[in-house]
Amino acid sequence: MLTSVTNSLRNPTYLPFVVVQVLVALYAWFAARAGLFRNLKLAVPAGLGLGILAAAASTPISYKIFGCSTSGGVTLMTLLGRKLGMSDLVACAFSAFVSDFGDKAVTFGLVATVLHALPKRTAARFPLALRSIGAA
């Protein structure tokens, strides 16, 4: 959440999406407790799941507040969606999904790598970290 607030200092359009970050944090907490960072084969799909959730959560915000114009890419995707016969809202969801799809999976993969790279002494200080890679 703090990241999106800090980002919004540079680009105010992040601010309305703070709510989505809350969901991302909760999802990550559940994923950690479930030990989904044990290896990349689990972490990356978990990231995809988050990608879908995040896209679903950000669609209403993007649609209502931004009219689905958060960025050039999103706008093009929405126009493409419309061309394919989707309604306004569905086209907006389509654009959110496409733009958000990959990066959460990459993030989860990176988080898994970091957690596995933690030294013993530091890892011992964060029990949830150990649990998330199935080492607790």
Binding site: L15, I65, F66, T75
Partner: protein, 220 residues
């Protein structure tokens, strides 16, 4: 304007977008945008930033929607962008921290906000140093996706590990500097809070509530 109490500036920067989204388009958001722009005008740099941040949205919106809808959303978005860019330019974080502390908020709340703000440039500088150092021992940063992924790993891992490793030292430093001393912290430069400003703040809140109620009643 910059002499006003930080909470007044916050209230104004929050009220304008709130009013923009509750007052009926197009004259509502147009009015709030004009107010936001008059705030930005004294500082050309702020006005320019606001303009260049908002401009792309006007283009996208007119591509996406019919004239009326696009205009409404564009005016509202521009109000939000202008008032927020103005707030960031006019309210130095240090003054907001002082205001939070002297208003009795726990120093930890102020610390969390300020520490995040000062951590961002520090970590960005460290990231640049790490990338430079890794390149000087052969790490290629330009090339195919595999190369870029390997470069990302050689940056993200040391950044996170070195930052995590310093958690102890940072905690010790804050402890020794009395952050959790439990005594009431002395605000270094408490901003003067005139009753006029307090009244203005409540007026803004009341205005927003009235707008929301009006919109609900009018819509029903």
């Amino acid at each position: 304007m910059s002499g006003r109490h930080p909470f007044t500036l916050l209230a104004l920067a929050a009220a304008l977008p709130a009013l923009a989204w509750t007052l009926p388009a197009p004259w509502g958001p147009a009015a709030t945008l004009i107010v936001a722009l008059t705030l930005c005008l004294p500082a050309p740099r702020v006005a320019r930033t606001a303009f260049f941040t908002a401009a792309p949205f006007w283009l996208f919106l007119f591509l996406l929607h019919d004239r009326a809808t696009a205009l409404a959303i564009a005016l509202r978005l521009s109000t939000m962008i202008a008032s927020f860019v103005w707030l960031v330019a006019i309210l130095p974080p240090a003054r907001l921290v002082e205001a939070l502390v002297s208003a009795g908020y726990s120093v930890h709340v102020a610390f969390l906000f300020a520490a995040t703000l000062s951590a961002v440039p520090a970590l960005r500088a460290r990231a640049q140093r790490i990338v430079d150092a890794q390149r000087c021992r052969g790490l290629a940063t330009r090339g195919g996706p595999l190369t870029r992924l390997r470069a990302l790993r050689a940056l993200a891992l040391p950044l996170v590990l070195s930052a995590l490793h310093e958690v102890d030292e940072r905690a010790l430093a804050l402890e020794t500097r009395g952050l959790s001393a439990g005594t009431r912290r002395t605000p270094l430069a408490p901003p003067p809070d005139l009753w006029v400003e307090r009244v203005a703040r409540w007026a803004l809140v009341a205005g927003c509530v009235a707008a929301i109620v009006g919109r609900v009643l009018w819509r029903v």
